[in-house]
């Protein structure tokens, strides 16, 4: 029996401490439930030791806890093997590791395909590696609703396509991409797929086996865990290809002054002392996520987004951007004649936290002809009362500026 979302807010200490806060920026980072904070605190106060190093009890227990989380991640995303899961600093680092690895197999004239809605983190690493190797970066366009133009994809994929990197959920438009169809089309052309799941894991059911993605990345802090911890999932057949971005201790088999032999994936990527407390926090965040029903959680945030879109229609001076076929809990909008930062600045005074700017997606904003947007993003702890407060404040904003 899963935990009900009613009163779920009471599990988040920050939201309890600041009951007046209307937090609509969960796409940026989510708040953390008490059990995650407690797990991190308890690690430092009673379990602190380095992993994979000492023979004493504290160290072996820390190692055990750390490795246990690998298994929890495996279960959460439906991976086959624990060793497919590597710990990183976050989605950005995970993508950089894969991009850096592709540098070795990318030749002049090859190409990598991304989509027009990618976050800079899933754009720049590919752009830079393509530049270095004189390969092409191809961009799958989106339409004005904010959906990828799927028919274009088969034209972009060819024998020289080395990878398709695409987001699961757009961090600006809220679009949930049809990943299964996309992966199928890519695999027909023998193209592996990297899925940026930063906005989806922990918010909706995500299963790497069902989706059949070859690589998947996400960050702990967007799914109720701590900052500075993330995951790279890679199918076993790519393990020899994935190269470390950082060299150092803990990732090696044998070292001499002339040569080093490395451990296999994923240990090869985890050089230096990892963020053990962050990983343990991620473990607690997964426990938390497993207690709630993810179908219900995603339906809840999606419903809040739909209600907000409907209510914005009644404000003639506000325009929601895009209208994807499958939406998540994210709504970007603009206000006539009022800059996004002035909107956000006004909302701040009403204890409403939203994000304003380009949200690390400058090319996407260019596509819509907007230098900046305001973004409201929902999580499980938001309610319709939050939507109403936002709409009410937007009416006040109009009055303030007229």
């Amino acid at each position: 029996m899963s935990r009900s979302l009613t009163n779920i807010k009471s599990l988040f200490p920050l939201l309890q401490e600041r009951p007046e806060l209307v937090y609509l920026d969960s796409a940026s980072t989510s708040h953390k439930p008490k059990l995650v904070i407690d797990a991190i605190t308890s690690f430092y106060s009673s379990e602190n030791a380095n992993v994979h190093r000492g023979l004493y009890e504290l160290s072996s227990s820390a190692t055990h806890r750390y490795e246990q989380v690998r298994s929890k991640v495996k279960d959460l995303i439906g991976a086959q093997l624990e060793k497919e899961v590597a710990f990183t600093k976050g989605s950005t680092e995970s993508i950089n590791i894969v991009a850096n690895s592709f540098e070795g197999i990318l030749n002049e004239g090859d190409n990598i395909v991304i989509s027009e809605m990618e976050h800079h983190a899933n754009l720049i690493p590919w752009q830079q590696v393509c530049k270095k190797r004189k390969a092409m970066l191809r961009v799958l366009p989106i339409n004005s609703n904010g959906d990828v133009v799927l028919e274009q994809l088969s034209k972009l994929l060819d024998k020289r396509t080395k990878l398709l990197a695409i987001t699961h959920i757009s961090n600006v438009l809220g679009t949930v991409n049809p990943v299964r169809e996309i992966v199928e089309m890519a695999h027909v052309k023998s193209t592996p797929v990297l899925l940026d799941a930063a906005q989806s894991v922990g918010h909706m059911p995500v299963n790497v086996k069902d989706l059949d993605v070859d690589f998947l990345v996400f960050s702990a802090h967007k799914m109720f865990g701590s900052m500075g911890t993330g995951i790279l999932y890679a199918k076993e057949k790519y393990h020899n290809m994935v190269q470390p971005l950082n060299f150092g201790g803990g990732a090696i088999r044998e070292v001499s002054f002339d040569e080093t032999t490395f451990m296999n994936y994923p240990s090869s990527l985890e050089a230096g002392t990892p963020n053990v407390s962050g990983v343990i926090g991620l473990g607690a965040a997964i426990d938390f996520v497993q207690q709630i029903n993810l179908e219900e959680a995603s339906a809840h945030t999606k419903q809040l987004a739909s209600v907000l879109r409907e209510k914005l229609l009644m404000l003639p001076f506000v325009k929601a951007v895009g209208n994807p076929i499958i939406n998540s809990g994210i709504v970007p909008f603009v206000v006539d004649g009022i800059h996004a930062h002035d909107v956000a600045g006004f909302l701040v005074e009403h204890q409403i936290a939203v994000r304003a700017g380009h949200h690390c997606t400058q090319p996407l904003h260019k596509k819509f002809g907007l230098p900046a947007t305001v973004r409201a993003s929902f999580s499980i702890y938001n309610t319709e009362a939050d939507v109403d407060k936002l709409v009410y404040s937007l009416k006040g904003l109009k009055k303030f500026w007229s």
Binding site: I338, H339, H341, G345, V348, P371, W401
Partner: protein, 145 residues
């Protein structure tokens, strides 16, 4: 009067809705750009005989950054380079609450921007164009104008 009323007071509202010398030019301007929020203004500064003749600007930014750029043009036009530098210095000090007691402000309108001392998130908006112009003026020293 709320903090919001003070952040967007009559000066900021007027200068942002009807900015002074707001015009797109074909010439290459100096760019004031904040990569974090995306605000971007081009400033066209005409300097002759060690005087700031005219300042026009164009671009995209929030009410605070637009108004502060508008005030900048209004105050710096017709000033000597040395004076213009002094004015930039004063405005930027004012934003950080570093104006000395009894110091005479070059413009009464500067006071409207002092509120960013309480709203640190908006400091960059108010300082954006001023910092770039300060750099530009400093760079003129080595050149013969």
């Amino acid at each position: 009067v709320t903090r919001l009323d003070r952040l967007y007071d009559e000066v900021v509202k007027r200068h942002s809705s009807q900015p002074y010398h707001y015009e797109k030019r074909n010439e290459q301007g100096i760019q004031a750009y904040n990569s974090i929020c995306g605000d971007r203004f081009d400033l066209y500064i005409d300097v002759k005989d060690r005087m700031v003749n005219t300042i026009y600007f164009h671009g995209y930014g929030c009410a605070v950054s637009k108004a502060s750029t508008s005030v900048l043009g209004r105050v710096l036009e017709g000033r000597s380079i040395a004076e213009a530098k002094e004015i930039c210095n004063q405005f930027l000090r004012l934003l950080k609450n570093e104006v000395i007691d009894g110091e005479k402000l070059y413009s009464e309108e500067f006071k409207s921007f002092a509120v960013v001392q309480e709203v640190p998130a908006r400091y960059d908006c108010a300082a954006l164009a001023w910092k770039e112009v300060e750099k530009f003026l400093a760079g003129l020293d080595s050149q013969d104008y």
